[in-house]
């Protein structure tokens, strides 16, 4: 069985995560788009912390017999991987967009620097 203290700690941590994310979005320091994965992470962890029988059942499916809260760690780790992978794709896209911008600016600046031909 999951120790009650582990459940409480898990629930408190999940609630803090959710509150921090909501506050960051509210203050416009985090875009909704990037907040969603974090919120899903928080909610899933919160549910698994509060719903103790559920956690035990899932632990049973996964063959985790000794210590069911280990499933919380596993789920949290999985979500962190997801978030990181998502960020890697975002960084890649931003990199491409940045290079494209730098190239466009270089081309436009060269065009602007040409001596103006008198209109004919």
């Amino acid at each position: 069985m999951t120790p009650i203290r582990a459940s409480i700690a898990g629930a408190v941590a999940s609630i803090i995560l959710i509150l921090v994310v909501v506050e960051l979005v509210r203050g416009r320091r985090l875009k909704e788009r990037y907040a969603i994965l974090w919120l899903v992470t928080g909610v899933v962890l919160l549910v698994l912390s509060i719903w103790r029988e559920g956690l035990n059942t899932i632990a049973g499916w996964l063959g985790v017999t000794g210590y069911p809260p280990a499933v919380l760690f596993a789920v949290a780790t999985l979500f962190i991987f997801l978030v990181l992978l998502h960020y890697s794709t975002v960084i890649s896209r931003l990199t491409d967009e940045n290079v494209d911008l730098a190239q466009r600016i270089a081309l436009l600046e060269e065009k602007l620097s040409r001596p103006q031909r008198p209109a004919d």
Binding site: D96, V99, L101, A102, Q103, A106, L107, E109, E110
Partner: protein, 242 residues
Amino acid sequence: MSDGRLVAVVPAWNEEGAIGQVVDEIKAFDAAATVVVVDDASSDDTASVAEAHGATVLRLLFNVGIGGAVQTGFRYARDEGYEIAVRLDGDGQHDASELGKLLGPIHAGTANLVIGSRFVDPGATYRPPFARRMGIRLFARLVSLLGGQKVTDTTSGFVALDRAGIELFAVEYPHDYPEVEATLVALRSGLRLGQVQVEMRERQTGSSSITFVRSLYYIVKVMLALLVASLRRYPRLEAAQR
């Protein structure tokens, strides 16, 4: 708008010592050619030296890597309607007097992309250090295998392109360590490849950007890029099948 005029794309990063001569030599080969020096956010006077020697300078806001710099030049060539482009490095290792050889197959209409190769002629004098030779050979084998055509030198940055090649590379060009992957992309897009023997000079100033750790990254990155490029689909270019 273009009448077959030539544009020479020269990527340069901190090459103030060499860039002037590079521009002069291209002008000496073809006085009518437009020389476009792409300054990859140099901290020295590369851009003003190039300008003083009569080059058109494209200044990148921040360092985007050699591939991103070269691509800027190809975008310029595409947007300004040039029919033929050549690419030479800004450090002076490519001899502009050999451009005639490179342009031969383009003018003859037998190739869309001509690579100045150091290894076409088996008796060629260029013998790089062992590790580099193995790397060059490995990439040549891989590109030949994946691209379905024998390529002798995939790491050469000394190339000539016709309009089809310019249009492809203006859109599809890797941002770092680009040459090997670009060769495969060209083959998979249906460009006809030509190869001519060239000699390359030792660099005049500055130092090669390839250090040990970087060369490891180089090999891994290029291998991955080749693998992924061979899993991707590229549009077959109609323009290439004239």
